[in-house]
Symmetry: C2
Subunit: 138 residues, 2 copies
DNA sequence: ATATAATTTATAATGATTCTAAAGTAGTGT
DNA sequence: ACACTACTTTAGAATCATTATAAATTATAT
């Protein structure tokens, strides 16, 4: 059983039709040893090289958004003109290197358990995201 | 001594000429009991009402950016199509209500001291920002 | 095979932000 | 008060990411 059929299954099971375009994007995003961070522009360029037939930019946007909605991707909160996505959907945090603009994973184990002592009536916590900005040492 | 002369001093001392436009924006942003969160669009609309003469949008952008650079404003990391700014420049965190898109301050005292156990060679921590997403309780 | 609904696509539209270059203004020295 | 210079403001154009549109294509159930 190759990866493709796994992706087909995954897509079908979440109500998404396994189209050529979605499968290409799956392969690009999930056929990896390590998780990674990307912008739409990043994968748009990568897909231009990898695939014989171009995938429309609109489709890339659509696909990334539906993958996010299905929980296969997370969006990372950084103040930037573009959106960053992460194929690591487990609960974790990030370093942002302000000199290089690089995002680096920060595992939950590397951050002491965060306790929020304030709570708002009628509201519950959905997620806690920590962004640690780092810079050169000198 | 009224507030205006305080603002004039503040601007001069940071190398910014106290122009009419900058003073108007100072009054709008800093003549308040409580700190607040805003987008450029927010204060653009507010300035339209408050001031007899309109301030150009470009000037609002320029001013907010120079105030940020001088440390009078902070930019908040939220994934959004617009930038959010905060007149509270002390070290603190935020709730984001995903149902209303409202930002709410979360004081440092309300978050247990955060300890980052991982560090990267040649890099030092510049800031730690926590975003707690909250949602309706039902 | 056909019908139907989902998907893709190119392109236009939108909206936030930045750029540009000309006109206006503050601060300094005379 | 006057003139000089550098800084600032301005309107509008340009840019860039993202979303909307509406027609063409494709996946799937019957």
């Amino acid at each position: 059983m190759d990866n493709n059929s796994i992706f087909i299954e995954k897509l079908r099971s979440s109500g998404l039709r396994p189209t050529k375009q979605r499968l290409e994007i799956c392969k690009l995003l999930f056929n990896r040893k390590k998780t990674f961070h990307f912008t739409i522009n990043d994968i748009s360029k990568m897909l231009k090289n990898k695939t014989y037939k171009k995938i429309s930019l609109a489709t890339i946007y659509n696909t990334v958004h539906s993958f996010k909605k299905k929980g296969y991707l997370k969006e990372i909160s950084v103040n930037s003109d573009k959106s960053y996505f992460d194929t690591n959907t487990s609960s974790h945090h990030h370093f942002l290197d302000v000199n290089t603009n690089e995002l680096i994973d920060l595992n939950n184990e590397d951050v002491d358990n965060i306790k929020i002592k304030k709570n708002l009536p009628g509201k519950k916590i959905k997620s806690i995201e920590v962004l640690v900005k780092i810079e050169n040492n000198n």
